[in-house]
């Protein structure tokens, strides 16, 4: 919430009497800006230079390097000169040979669909109900929110205790002896439930903030026009929340692509839990199939660019106008 108000463009400043003087002053200052002292120029250079360098070297260089390395074959030993350039062979192998790739893509898609169709709407629904401020809503809100502060690794462990074949609560309550995380036919669903435990709370808190940010007079106007709660929400409140809706969608997509920790804690991404992210990890570190892992990363990057570009064009709409 704190962010919403300061983000608005600075309101027109000064009362009527002072106003005529203002523009002149600004022009003057802008003129002075060009005559920055040498010290100031150095300070500004370092100010933006150091962070940009870090961002470039540790984020953008590796991202581009992934693309380049994906056309080569290298085991990470010795100098870069030992890379054999093999064109699109890595991609061919991924698409045509690797038995894990298509299952991984399928699982990633399923992950996305589940978060988008089940977890995210549930978070939105909880937020809408909590926004009504019925008794106890503050307490309930804290309960739904609690998993958001836990690491996904911890959530993996907690749900392992729930889903354990013999000692888990789920089997204990249901009287079954299913190996929820071990059975390759169902472990993805079990992992999705564990993952949603956090995702729902995250979406809920974002959406709740969004709801509080909607101008209350919009609702009042709708109510005066005789709209009921449902109409007010879908026709007035929901469209007014377009920015937050986009953020929620983008977070859902990105979380689905980033999914890693829970699956890794469960079984390192094998046996029914393959994801693109775990495949990259197994091929990149000690295994050192650098080109192959990079090609997988490029595929993930290409998919990720869709939500990233969507979000950025939304977030920087004003500046570009």
């Amino acid at each position: 919430m704190t962010g919403s108000t300061p983000i608005a463009p600075p309101a027109p400043r000064g009362g009527a009497p002072a106003a005529p003087a203002k523009p002149v002053e600004i022009v003057e200052v802008k003129g002075k800006l060009k005559k920055l002292s040498t010290t100031d120029k150095v300070v500004i250079g370092l100010m933006i230079g150091i962070p940009t360098l870090i961002e470039a070297v540790l984020v953008w260089f590796p991202a581009v390097a992934s693309i380049v390395l994906s056309f080569g074959n290298w085991n990470g030993v010795g100098s870069l000169a030992r890379i054999q350039w093999i064109g699109v062979t890595n991609y061919q192998n991924i698409f045509e040979v690797d038995p894990n790739f298509w299952p991984a893509v399928q699982h990633n898609v399923l992950w996305l669909v589940f978060l988008a169709v089940v977890a995210t709407p549930l978070g939105v629904f909880l937020a809408v109900l909590l926004d009504r401020e019925t008794p106890g809503s503050k307490l309930f809100q804290s309960v739904f929110f609690l998993p958001v502060i836990f690491s996904l690794a911890l959530i993996g462990v907690i749900w392992q205790l729930m889903f354990s074949p013999e000692q888990g609560l789920v089997n204990g309550v249901l009287g079954t002896d299913i190996d929820w995380f071990g059975d390759s036919g169902i472990n993805l669903w079990a992992a999705l439930i564990a993952s949603s435990w956090k995702h729902v709370g995250y979406i809920m808190i974002l959406y709740l903030a969004g709801l509080k940010g909607v101008d209350p007079s919009l609702r009042e106007a709708a109510a005066l026009d005789g709209a009921n709660n449902r109409q007010t929400f879908f026709r007035v409140v929901f469209p007014a929340m377009k920015p937050i809706n986009i953020v929620v969608v983008v977070i859902t997509v990105i979380e689905a692509l980033r999914a890693f920790d829970i699956v890794f804690i469960i079984n390192k991404g094998n046996n029914g839990l393959q994801l693109l992210s775990t495949m990259i990890y197994t091929n990149s570190g000690a295994a050192a199939r650098v080109g192959y892992a990079s090609a997988l990363a490029v595929i993930l990057l290409v998919i990720a660019l869709v939500p990233i570009v969507t979000y950025l064009s939304q977030a920087f709409k004003e500046e570009n106008r």
Partner: protein
């Protein structure tokens, strides 16, 4: 919505409709019938009950000795309840070392991230330059990339960048705290720069203009004028970043191969293997790993929630 809300002025008409209901503009006008409100409360209560079960079961498991579970069933009630598992897990898993590793990584990483992000944000939001927006987009986009896209080259870079053996026993950046700190900083820099620059943009221009006329240099404008005003945003970001960097699993897992150098979140993976036969110990160890974030969250709840929505409300 097309209607600018301010034009309507709901005051006179709305007052009559409010009847006896408390109304303070942040609550919805139509609060629904009594029956629907009771229905909502019951539904939310039920959902919250379901929600707390996994955590409650973990806590319950952690308080029970495994022997009692084995003799009776895992779902038994009665017998011993104590903190012995916590003591045992703490000692056997050398949790103290993992906690220390987490602190060594998290504290400098958060400070550096906020410092560098606020520097970049000051330049990008308050010193005119035609490349400000493209650069800000580059920062923001960097944070949105899936970590795994950068993983392979980063690992090779760390492995092939030599460090004197006196500093790193691996002779490179692999297995060092430095590389984990650096990568966490780089990755979080984008989000923090984005948030800080939005915040700084909203501060009145006159503040720095006046200082400039009085002869204050850029550094003074940043350090003495703008930064102190950014305290709320810094507090919110700090809370958020402590939790995010502390919770990081992937970077440490990728770049640290020595088990005893891992931060506690990634160390959980080792714990998981170590205590595979004793879930009661595992539960205690896992819960302890969450204690620092739980404390941060409970103390700074307000800042944390503010931080989560700082980036989201832009648009």
């Amino acid at each position: 919505m097309t209607t600018p809300a301010a034009v309507i002025d709901p005051e006179p008409q709305a007052r009559g409709r409010r009847r006896n209901r408390r109304q303070n503009y942040t609550t919805p006008l139509t609060r629904g019938s009594r029956a629907s409100r009771i229905g909502i409360t019951v539904f939310l209560g039920g959902a919250a009950f379901l929600w707390i079960i996994p955590l409650a079961w973990t806590i319950y498991t952690s308080l029970r000795p495994i022997d009692y579970f084995k003799d009776h069933s895992y779902f038994s009630i009665g017998g011993t309840y104590d903190f012995q598992n916590y003591v045992d897990a703490f000692e056997q898993a050398q949790l103290l070392k993992f906690f220390a590793n987490s602190a060594i990584i998290t504290i400098p990483a958060v400070i550096l991230t906020l410092l560098l992000a606020s520097l970049a944000a000051f330049k990008l939001s308050r010193v005119a330059w035609k490349y400000n927006v493209p650069l800000l987009i580059l920062f923001t986009a960097g944070n949105l990339l899936p970590q795994q896209v950068l993983a392979t080259p980063l690992f090779q870079m760390a492995k092939h960048t030599p460090l004197p053996e006196t500093i790193s026993d691996s002779g490179s950046f692999i297995n060092t705290y430095y590389v984990v700190i650096a990568v966490n900083v780089a990755f979080q820099l984008g989000f923090c720069t984005f948030v800080m620059s939005n915040y700084m943009k909203a501060l009145p221009v006159e503040l720095t203009e006046a200082a400039q006329v009085d002869g204050a240099g850029i550094w003074k404008q940043y350090w003495k004028i703008v930064l102190p005003l950014c305290r709320p945003a810094l507090a919110a970001l700090a809370t958020l970043e402590v939790i995010w960097i502390y919770n990081d699993f992937f970077w440490a897992l990728l770049l640290v191969q020595k088990g005893d150098r891992l931060p506690i979140t990634s160390g959980l993976n080792n714990l998981n293997g170590q205590f595979a036969q004793n879930y009661n110990l595992l539960a205690a160890g896992a819960l302890m790993s969450a204690l620092p974030v739980l404390i941060v969250y409970l103390v700074l709840q307000k800042h944390f929630k503010a931080g989560l929505t700082l980036g989201a409300n832009k648009g």
